[in-house]
Symmetry: C2
Subunit: 204 residues, 2 copies
DNA sequence: CCGCTTGTTGACAGCTTGTCAATAGCCCTG
DNA sequence: CAGGGCTATTGACAAGCTGTCAACAAGCGG
């Protein structure tokens, strides 16, 4: 008679992980790290708090997982547009970059976009890796893959460029002191300038 | 007889504040925000934990105070060197900028230098103000103070430039993928490029 | 020497996070 | 269709952290 309607459903680990992760993505997107408690995270996910630790070990690891996921998102397709001058390719590349960010505006602002300085080496490392990937992708897109002289320096400069891109994008998205077009011009022109006027002369 | 050696000394509020602040500066310099507890902060300062709250209200406010103090540090003197071409002035300006940072290496790396992304709007705001000040100072140093056409856009671009400066400096100081000279060249050349090739044409 | 101002303490309440043994879905077999 | 086992999930627990506040005492002024 007292036919038992199960009080909770048993899911595949992958599913449950994904579910919690989705919730974490949302909450960490709304507020910053310490303003989100695991208690809330659990309640919102409709799950016991212990389960979060079971799957992710620690609150911080869960957070890092969210960041990690996000940084691998912007797969702004390399898609050889080997055509055109380097300036044109830079334009196209930056355009695509801004597209991706614009589509994920909120998410981006609350994570990567945070020029924030919350002082967390782990997070920093993850985003450094992201910059690394972005830098390599840019080099490839711009057709500079065959440069060998000062290759490491070029990569370092591209990573630095990511810093400019980040802040400039934020100027556009949150302060609205620059338009999208202005940001694109700023970025692509600067990008070309770094390659031709800084790196070029430096490694003749 | 049992002459009472006082168990604790009573200090002027300013002194006590400064003492705690100094200690906080040290600890927050070594580890990141959440890795430092007020308990430790109090023990290290040789003070009751409650006193910290008494003076700063909250742990976060204490932290913000530390940051605030640091960001006003780099007073890289404006000192009109109105002489020379814009490129020369940019060189000198960036040289001085790197000097200041080099002198306060550890401190800088653990606070501002943290390209970190800890997700804290309050901290972010403080550093935005710092960027603001730095940007205005750069404009003045470069003798661009009388530009009126696209003035706000210029300031926004200078703030963006700070992002580049930050990451590039870190490339030099922590990863050592760029030398100091390379960073200086990268920064000053890019700076000039932004002014002459981006902002100039944009606001004819 | 005493009393008043106020810098300083210490205990308290509430909330946080990570652990772990116990519980209960649900698949699989007989 | 019953029951057994695997394991996903729970819930209580301990330790720790933060902010508050009434009580205490350092040291100056009368």
């Amino acid at each position: 008679m007292t036919s038992t309607a199960p009080r909770w459903r048993r899911l595949e680990p992958d599913q449950r992980r994904a579910q919690i992760l989705a919730c974490a993505r949302r909450l960490f997107g709304e507020r910053h790290y310490e303003a989100v408690s695991t208690t809330e995270l659990a309640r919102e996910s409709g799950v016991a708090r212990g389960l979060i630790n079971h799957y992710f070990g620690t609150k911080r690891e869960l957070y890092l997982e969210v960041i990690r996921e996000l940084t691998f998102f912007p797969e702004f397709a390399v898609e050889r547009l080997a055509h055109g001058s380097i300036q044109q390719r830079a334009d196209a590349s930056m355009d695509r970059f801004l597209d991706v960010i614009q589509r994920n505006k909120t998410m981006w602002l609350n994570t990567i976009g945070t020029g924030g300085y919350g002082r967390d080496p782990d997070v920093e490392q993850i985003l450094q890796q992201a910059d690394e990937i972005a830098a390599d992708r840019m080099i490839e897109t711009l057709g500079l893959a065959d440069i060998v002289e000062g290759r490491e320096e070029l990569r370092a400069m591209m990573r630095s460029f990511s810093g400019l891109a980040r802040v400039a994008t934020k100027e556009w998205m949150t302060r609205e002191t620059l338009t999208r077009d202005q940001v694109r011009t700023l970025l692509s022109t600067t990008l070309v300038s770094i390659i031709t006027q800084v790196h070029g002369p430096m490694f003749s």
